[in-house]
Symmetry: C2
């Protein structure tokens, strides 16, 4: 039972499988990118939510890291990560938890884009005596939150933080819009948009006599494509650890780079419709249909054999809670596989699919090594 196939055969389906060799290549690719660009890499741990994977993502296991929830900050701080950016706008009600994590020796920073939040952070200092470092969120592509670099509120917030018992640590931006454009040149343009917005905001703060030591940018597509990050100090990215079909659809990776899949079993056949029923429904695959708006709609996922080889004619065309329907793509030949056959499904969106599961089953890089099981966590 030492070959990968034999190990997978012992697993109950549906379950999450990680190809360690592919994951390691993805991690090394992004580390090399940050080195070449002369910036610090601050990996986003919201994709993996796993201490085992965080240790592989973070150079010496202690950071720097990015998280999307305070639950992530708490788990990773307890596991020894000492430098964390909580990159979702801070709610005033969450500042006591931020203070508690900081008291345990983790340098946790928050982000914000309103005067109310800056005042709440300052009030937390007066209450606790601890200075909470805060970065101001900058909007580089209009897709979500943040201030435009020329918004007068930027200086007002900077002043309230710097004078008010917080520490104005810098500016942060994320061009989520880069997920909606295809190809290296388009991602490079978004990377320059991130850079110029963040650097412009940093310059405006400095011109007003305020400090701005950190200039933080990034998303997986822009991090892969950036040519020049002058003025930027750090790069954030997350989904590259696994990659997924959405990233492949915008040419931010190849389908062969995708390190995450859902192992599933054929549980029924509808020869009249050319359907195979599998035991991975949306509960195992997630409801994410990120490729629906792309040039090639991959349904609920691309189908591979148990060894991970893509079966190019097949996709998961629909899903209910615990059933997936595998069928031929338009124009492709039909399919018939016996009940009990194992398949692996590549996900639309790795963050969403991984979140449906409680553990990773990891196919080791080293041939003959046993399958590993790494827990993952959720919650807020």
């Amino acid at each position: 039972m030492t070959s990968p196939a034999a190990d997978l055969a012992a697993l109950q389906t549906p379950c999450l499988v990680v190809d360690e060799a592919k994951m390691t290549r993805n991690i090394e690719m992004m580390s090399a990118r940050a080195r070449d660009l002369g910036v610090t890499l601050r990996p986003h741990l919201k994709t993996c939510k796993s201490v085992d994977i965080a240790r592989r993502l973070l150079t010496d296991g202690t950071g720097p890291a990015t998280v999307s929830t305070l639950a992530e900050a708490e788990v990773f701080a307890a596991a020894g990560v000492r430098d964390i950016l909580y990159a979702v706008g801070i709610a005033p009600q969450k500042l006591d938890r931020v203070l508690a994590i900081r008291r345990r020796g983790c340098d946790l920073a928050v982000i914000l884009d309103t005067v109310e939040q800056a005042d709440a952070v300052a009030a937390a200092f007066w209450r606790s005596g601890d200075t909470i470092p805060a970065l101001i969120e900058i909007d580089s592509d209009g897709h979500r939150g943040g201030l435009k670099p020329d918004d007068p509120a930027l200086i007002e917030i900077g002043r309230r933080l710097h004078g008010g018992g917080s520490a104005l640590r810098g500016v942060v931006t994320h061009a989520g819009g880069s997920y909606d454009v295809v190809g290296h040149a388009a991602h490079e343009a978004f990377a320059e948009q991130e850079r110029s917005a963040a650097v412009g905001a940093a310059e405006a703060l400095r011109a007003a006599g305020l400090p701005c030591p950190v200039v933080s940018v990034g998303s997986t597509p822009t991090a892969r494509a950036a040519r020049d990050l002058s003025g930027v100090t750090e790069l954030r990215a997350g989904v590259y650890v696994f990659f997924d079909l959405v990233m492949a659809g915008i040419e931010a990776c190849a389908v062969e780079d995708i390190a995450l899949s859902v192992l599933t079993t054929v549980i029924g056949r509808r020869a009249d419709r050319g359907w195979l029923l599998v035991d991975a429904g949306w509960m195992a695959l997630s409801r994410d249909r990120g490729t629906a708006s792309q040039a090639v709609d991959q349904g609920y996922g691309v189908v591979c054999d148990e060894a991970g080889r893509v079966l190019p004619d097949l996709i998961v065309i629909k899903a209910s809670q615990e059933h997936g329907v595998v069928a031929a793509r338009p124009g492709a030949a039909g399919v018939d596989l016996p009940v009990g056959t194992r398949l692996r499904i590549l996900p639309n969106h790795a963050c969403a699919t991984a979140a449906q599961h409680q553990a990773y089953h990891v196919l080791p890089t080293e041939p003959g090594a046993p399958l590993m099981e790494w827990p993952r966590f959720g919650g807020w």
Copy 2:
């Protein structure tokens, strides 16, 4: 801290809130329906995945019940449920777990629709000496798996089960297509389609000299609308325990019946776009957009104030992993609420939204009683 609002104020967001009074009304409504129709109610526990809620759904806490995973069967059997139908086509590799649950004193039955599965169930008997009861899945609306009532495979499978060491317990059907039609009359027609397909299959088995003690039908819309279930022995339904916007959109409930919501906090504002950013993204709300194909697209959810009163002008128009964007519906007035404001979001699909969380925070029916926390589980 005994009023509901004070209790909610102490919760960290995002989190899942259940209105116990609404849930109890929903449970009583469906129990009354089964009584009036003269059939046994076998609630589906895949929506709640909670022992506390299962005890309220099951008459005496021991069953009958329906589940969608063997993990559910294991948890509920351990909690004392003694009669469970695992209502997803059985994979041969899962039969050892079925046998283990049965050995612990729970009468767990499986469903299937192929000769291969019937032979695997029979082989498990020869291996273990335990008879696994099996129901044959009937296709009443073409939406997923099952055999048509006149498919010759029905009798062949019935013979292999009855003669082969299994127990042919009956037939089972689920008209998932009822979720796609609007109004009582349409649901009543689907209920009759379920009834006639299941009863037709039962008659075919009996005419071939085979037993068919159980004739099992149901979905929340058809269970609510059925007028006559002659020949049917039991009714299955699940999502009615909470209801949701998809059910409201097809008139299977009112919005006021929805007992489940996600508590969230305003974490940012984009006055230029009329947006509020909240800390419930798709990780808390799920990616389910079931109302997208309905007459009224409710986005990622209907917005209520902290007390649960619907704010009719607002919906969640988009969501990223940990951010939701609340905005006015088309033609409605804009919105501005301070950072820190608490809101509650009604879900598109209760099963999907609840699955994103690890606990229910339950507002008690009794005024002044403390908030309860009930764990929920996932996995397979």
